[in-house]
Symmetry: C2
Amino acid sequence: MDLNIPSFLRNQGIKASYQRIRIYEYLLNNRTHPTVAEIYDVLITDIPSLSKTTVYNTLNLFVEKELVEEVTIEGSEMRYDIKDPEGHGHFKCTKCHKIYDVPIQIDKIFSDEMSDFLVQAQFVHFVGICPDCQKDN
Amino acid sequence: MDLNIPSFLRNQGIKASYQRIRIYEYLLNNRTHPTVAEIYDVLITDIPSLSKTTVYNTLNLFVEKELVEEVTIEGSEMRYDIKDPEGHGHFKCTKCHKIYDVPIQIDKIFSDEMSDFLVQAQFVHFVGICPDCQKDN
DNA sequence: GATAAACTTGTAATGAATCCAATATGAAAA
DNA sequence: TTTTCATATTGGATTCATTACAAGTTTATC
């Protein structure tokens, strides 16, 4: 996948500042649903001037422009993930605390009783034990 | 539905203090996914000694004992809802900000790729516009 | 290069949730 | 009933994620 991030951002109506490019790049390369603190802690080593506020501002902008989605699957910190037009759910393992992306059958979720609701977004979260943690019981 | 709350709580291994009874009763009678602040503001008029910490403690206890579930559908405050063994999803209207319970087809959600995951709980949230708000355009 | 707009930065402020020590309650034993 | 002891409640202090704001910096356009 050879995405030109600066022009991609500009296409979405976002000025491609260095900070924004690096934050988007981090989200692309780290599909681990990072928190603001995690993103900041990694990027500060490369961008010594980086402010946490910039990370917050940038992520809020990305969410507003629908490039990124918020993942509130547990814990006190918001997590972020590149937005997937297909839509996917999240699974959090209670043992290793890893968060997995899982495919969901979007269309199957809607029930008849919901036909009058205009659904603009849906979020599906699971909590349980992942295959790895079931093995080493 | 004539539930005897004190004995219900005791059956769940919870001491039925006056505060706990009133908080559980509030959740039963107000299926509006209230926040701690909302519960506190209403009950404080009846229980002048009530502490916000007690509301937090009690709700955390109910969640731990699986009588109540946390609803994190948007906003900075946690919301709480009586736990429904059937399972249901939540729909938040972006116009009137009301939160609706919606039925979901639990079994349909799971895809084959998830067969190795042990799912202990699932949460389905929708965001969009409710039927009422679609009418008064 | 000048000018204005937009972006970044850092500190201060907000506010939800938790911690903790003191007090109150209530069930069981004497 | 009184004593005892575990448990619950209270409220003020604290934590910490997030936002607000003002000043400084960068970038684009003329």
